[in-house]
């Protein structure tokens, strides 16, 4: 088995430069690791103090950390974010010199630190809880009413003011999954949501770890690219965003197609790949590097994509690319079977509004945020913002990109990369861009053979972070 598949540090070969890198790599990697951990701890401890515009009003879940930090201001937040991002870039450059244990330990530590801390940046998690409690505690349909319908509920005061009148935009599967958490009380539900996000993130990283060697990629690099990503840790995981659940299901579908059902077993596909390379029985390894899959794997992959769609509508993206790439019936049947089952359940529980996930997508597509790239481009051309005609132009651009990618996939282009490009195109052309939207393409980019996708995804993320930095250059006081 190769050193990459084994996850052992690679020997740095070459002349004097290579030797110098090998000597300095552990020290540099150590510094980068310390910066990542220090920045994360700083944000969590300062965030636990509360009373900050960056920390949503929240029930006390991290009060025991509150005495250790100071109120989180924009300046400290941005310095921590920029330091984290620089250290992340350094660590990615050094990823191939790290041991597998180092990479796993770092990603685990970052995840657990933000898990123990307060909710950062966003109030979305309180909307999730409000929708769950509307249905399970108050008997109100979250697809017909916003949290305004449960003013007396304790969670109402924590819902973002822009969302109090807005009915849920999430899929019926997610709403059903979140219902039991609504019964745990407010604090219990917050921890439940945090745990769900942590498990989804961990599951995604395990799948990436197992898929990367099958694609001929370094799994330490892939793991760090996703698991130590600043937007992944500080925005998505620390905010307990349900995008992580959608991403997990999407990556599960990809893993099922790339490495088969073995990806879910303890003795996973990496071991199977090793067996196959050694000539022992196991999954067969194709010329493409993919372990052969069964019809059942393909059906489950189709079902996993539909499950992702029923969490958040954008989860649908990989399905057409998978179908066009494989041109087999099993993924379609798997997708259709789950769609029918969940649609029936959703219709019974929520009525017709719970089934119509396109309506929520249409509604959200009309929103405008100051961080979106279309808004920035409008400002560049002297316009105050985007207009309805711009929405239409952006939709046309997105359709053109998707058609091009479908055509390329038909001709044999990697469907995983095509899905990732589409996720990225949606984020970039959307007038409503939030940090966690730029994460949709990241896990697929990490296991894609088209390395341009990873470069483009990280570039977009760097621009997003750069756009946050104005208060650093001119603080308002």
């Amino acid at each position: 088995m190769s050193a990459v598949a084994q996850g052992q540090p690679l020997a740095v070969s070459g002349g004097r430069e290579g030797g110098a890198l090998a000597r300095w790599a552990p020290l540099l990697a150590g510094v980068c690791t310390l910066v990542l951990l220090a920045a994360t701890i700083e944000l969590v401890l300062d965030g636990a103090v509360g009373h900050s515009a960056l920390i949503p009003k929240s029930p006390s879940i991290a009060g025991w950390l509150g005495g250790l930090g100071e109120r989180l201001g924009f300046r400290v937040f941005l310095i921590a974010l920029i330091s984290y991002t620089a250290a992340y870039a350094g660590l990615l450059a050094l990823a191939r010199t790290l041991s597998a244990r180092w990479a796993i330990a770092l990603v685990s530590a970052l995840s657990l630190i933000v898990f123990a801390g307060p909710i950062l940046i966003s109030t979305d998690v309180f909307s999730y809880i409000a929708y769950a409690r509307m249905g399970v505690v108050h008997g109100v349909n979250p697809y017909l009413h916003g949290p305004q319908a449960i003013v007396s509920d304790p969670v109402y005061h924590y819902v973002g003011k822009d969302w109090k009148l807005v009915a849920t935009a999430y899929g019926p599967l997610y709403t059903l999954i979140s219902y039991p958490l609504g019964l745990l009380g407010l604090v219990g539900a917050v921890w439940g949501m945090k745990l769900m996000a942590l498990l989804a993130a961990a599951g995604t990283l395990v799948l990436i770890w197992r898929c990367a060697p099958v694609r001929g990629l370094d799994r330490r690099f892939a793991l760090l690219a996703v698991g130590a990503n600043p937007l992944w840790v500080i925005y998505a995981l620390a905010g307990a965003h349900n995008d992580l659940v959608m991403i997990f299901l999407t990556v599960l579908a990809v893993a099922l197609m790339l490495v088969g059902g073995g990806v879910l077993r303890r003795r996973g596909p990496v071991a199977a790949l090793g067996d196959a390379e050694a000539g022992t029985p196991g999954h067969e390894v194709g010329v493409t590097g993919a372990v052969a899959t069964t019809v059942r794997d393909e059906a489950f992959a189709g079902a996993a994509i539909v499950a992702a769609t029923l969490v958040k509508a954008t989860g649908f993206v990989p399905l057409p690319f998978l179908l066009i790439s494989r041109r087999r019936l099993a993924p379609l049947l798997g997708a259709a079977a789950l769609a029918v089952v969940v649609a029936l359940v959703a219709y019974v529980v929520f009525g017709v509004h719970g089934v119509n996930i396109v309506a929520a997508l249409d509604r959200d597509a009309a929103f405008v945020s100051t961080d979106s790239f279309p808004t920035e481009i409008a400002h560049l051309f002297g316009k105050p913002g985007v207009f309805p005609v711009d929405h239409d132009l952006l939709k046309i651009l997105l359709v053109a990109i998707v058609l091009h990618l479908l055509w390329r996939t038909w001709r044999g282009y990697d469907w995983v990369a095509a899905s990732g490009w589409t996720f990225l195109a949606i984020a970039v052309t959307s007038t409503w861009l939030l940090a966690w939207y730029t994460l949709w393409s990241l896990p697929l980019a990490a296991i894609s053979r088209d390395r341009r996708l990873l470069g483009a995804t990280l570039f977009v993320q760097v621009l997003f972070i750069a756009h946050q930095t104005a208060p650093l250059w001119a603080p308002v006081s």
Partner: protein
């Protein structure tokens, strides 16, 4: 469903399983491919060029937005300093509202006229316009708001300067 593993496709042949019943030409074009056909180098080059150009546009737009926001923050700082200089109160809980309707540089800055929590006392709102000179802006007018109230037209009183001309006070 079958549990038997399918043979993985080779890049040359593609996976022909289930497609043998098709005619030769259709089979050639409709079968799934494990990798792209050769000769797409120019397409990849065109895609990469477009990506780089689009990336440049996004980078310029982002830098421009940060520059603009930095200018706005300088203006807001001047607004705050002006309010403190005019009222003689060095308060920190001062609210600024920008003109998001007409996208002018006219800002309205409101703060308490006596010590107290945010919006807990009678508030003086000053309308400021024009460029920043020596970290200050010109006050063109203003109005008052009663304690514990938001800036709503029905609550404003005592308009002066440009606020009178704009008809901001209804009482």
């Amino acid at each position: 469903m079958s549990e038997a593993p399918r043979q993985a496709a080779s890049p040359r042949d593609g996976d022909t399983t289930g497609w043998r019943w098709l005619g030769g030409w259709v089979r050639l074009h409709a079968r799934p491919r494990a990798s792209e056909r050769k000769g797409l180098g120019s397409l990849r080059l065109a895609e990469t060029t477009l990506l780089i150009l689009f990336g440049l546009l996004l980078a310029i737009a982002t830098a421009n937005d940060v520059r603009q926001q930095t200018h706005v923050n300088h203006r807001l700082n001047a607004d705050l300093a002006t309010w403190r200089a005019v009222t003689g109160h060095n308060y920190h809980s001062i609210a600024i509202e920008q003109d998001v309707k007409e996208h002018t540089t006219r800002d309205t800055v409101c703060g308490n006229v006596s010590p107290g929590g945010p919006k807990q006392r009678t508030q003086l709102c000053l309308r400021m316009t024009g460029p920043v000179h020596a970290d200050r802006r010109k006050v063109r007018g203003g109005y008052y708001l009663p304690p514990r109230s938001e800036d709503e037209a029905r609550l404003r009183y005592g308009c002066f300067g440009s606020a009178v001309q704009a008809g901001l006070c209804v009482r």
